[in-house]
């Protein structure tokens, strides 16, 4: 599903990833570990086609990064990043409807999706008046609705209570059952112990 060959990325003239080669196959859950600033988030963005490589080659779901093919595969990619991606002035339900409409999904199912993540009673609350855990739940609801095949989770469980951590597991299980794959970035070794493989990044390089 994802193939990286000697891929490198520089940001602001500073190399962030160097010579990264890895393969992610369907049905696989890969863990990404490493200290702060080791390039984990950049690697995840590379896999999401949201970052172009300066060196090497990145192929995601059959589309080579840097070509217009990425527009075809992006809807099949789901990303939960560090910072909230919701529009602060919209309510939680409106944010979800917005994502549904852009994705061409029937927005009538947004209430159902919010109920799935336990936010049916907070659906009318504005995003800028919601906690980070609630925003994260809405992002999970969006992915449950969109059903991406490639799931990229950057510290997706941070700020979530135990129930909501179960939602992330459900998200991964759903992607795998649809023939997809997942990549999880975490500092929590217990969480990564459940992955099929763990890639260690240090100074922008894959170790071992």
């Amino acid at each position: 599903m994802v193939v990286l060959e000697e891929s490198g990325v520089s940001l602001g003239g500073r190399p962030v990833l160097r010579g990264v080669t890895l393969t992610l196959s369907a049905g696989q859950v890969m863990g990404l570990a490493g200290p702060n600033g080791s390039g984990k988030t950049t690697l995840l963005r590379l896999m999401a086609t949201l970052q172009r490589p300066d060196q090497g080659r990145v192929e995601v779901l059959g589309a080579v990064s840097g070509t217009t093919d990425v527009y075809r595969v992006r809807p099949a990619i789901g990303l939960i990043g560090h910072a909230p991606s919701l529009i602060p002035e919209l309510t939680l339900a409106e944010n979800l409807s917005h994502i549904a409409r852009l994705a061409g999904i029937d927005s009538a199912g947004t209430r159902e999706s919010l109920a799935l993540v336990g936010l049916e009673r907070a659906s009318g609350r504005r995003a800028d008046a919601s906690s980070s855990g609630m925003l994260r739940r809405v992002e999970i609801a969006a992915l449950l609705m969109r059903r991406p095949r490639l799931l990229l989770l950057d510290e997706a469980t941070s700020g979530l209570d135990r129930d909501a951590v179960g939602l992330v597991d459900a998200l991964v299980a759903r992607a795998l059952s649809a023939g997809g794959a997942a990549v999880m970035v975490s500092h929590d070794r217990t969480l990564l112990s459940g992955c099929d493989s763990v890639v260690e990044l240090t100074g922008g390089r894959v170790m071992g």
Binding site: R45, A48, L50, Q51, R52, G66, T68, Y71, R74, P75, I77, G78, L79, G81, A83, P84, S85, L86, I87, E89, L90, E94, H98, I99, R101, L102, A103, G104, E139, A142, R146, P148
Partner: protein, 222 residues
């Protein structure tokens, strides 16, 4: 997912956000109306002079505050929000068109209020409201399309607000020239068609450029 459904969705959400935060009508507009008072204070309250300079003041304020109005949208975009929209399947061309449409709606409303205030304060004669309205609409559409294009081109750059203003000011000259000359032509009783055609042509050229460059600009920022 059709391009037009995405265009409508982007424009709709932009307008909902504008209605809720009210940046343009609660912050920019009062300053623009207050600026109308500066000229009579500087020139002295002499009705004949004020009537003559009124339309010029209107277009000057239109371009100065209009840039703020038009650049406001892209300034509120955050990288995570753009990423979310990209992965939801948003076509950059749809974002560009939606943004230009919502900007034009807000900008037209802004210009209408400033124009009415100018007429009231400067005792200006309005010979044709429909021509004035059409000129304001074409001017607003062009300026917001240009600002959206420049906003997309400068996304992620340091000092983007200053840089964007420097790019928009000279590129909007055909619009300012045509809009101001349209009102002058109405007063003089000469033809408005060449000026209307100049504004329409500029608007179309900017739209075509924006749609064509939307994807390359989006990817260049990655």
């Amino acid at each position: 997912m059709s391009l037009w459904t995405q265009v409508v969705e982007i424009a709709r959400v932009d307008l909902v956000v504008e209605r809720r935060i009210g940046d343009v009508f609660r912050i920019v507009l009062p300053f623009a109306v207050a600026a109308l008072f500066v000229f009579p204070i500087a020139l002295g309250v002499e009705l004949a002079t004020m009537r003559r300079v009124g339309p010029a003041v209107f277009w000057t304020l239109g371009i100065l505050f209009g840039m703020q109005v038009a650049l406001r949208h892209s300034a509120t975009d955050t990288p995570p929000r753009r990423d979310m929209q990209a992965l939801a399947g948003l076509d950059p061309a749809a974002r560009f068109l939606g943004r230009a449409i919502s900007g034009a709606v807000v900008m037209t409303g802004f210009l209408v209020v400033v124009y009415v205030a100018m007429v009231a304060l400067y005792d200006s004669e309005t010979t044709s409201w429909w021509v004035t309205g059409l000129a304001a609409l074409l001017f607003a559409a062009g300026l917001t399309t240009l600002s959206t294009l420049v906003g997309e081109a400068t996304t992620g750059l340091r000092h983007r607000t200053g840089l964007a203003s420097l790019l928009i000011a000279p590129l909007s000259l055909p619009l300012v020239l045509a809009a101001s000359q349209t009102l002058a032509a109405v007063s003089d009783g000469t033809g408005i068609l060449p000026w209307m055609l100049l504004m329409t042509g500029t608007d179309i050229a900017l739209l075509v450029a924006g749609v064509g460059l939307a994807r390359p600009l989006e990817e260049a920022g990655r």
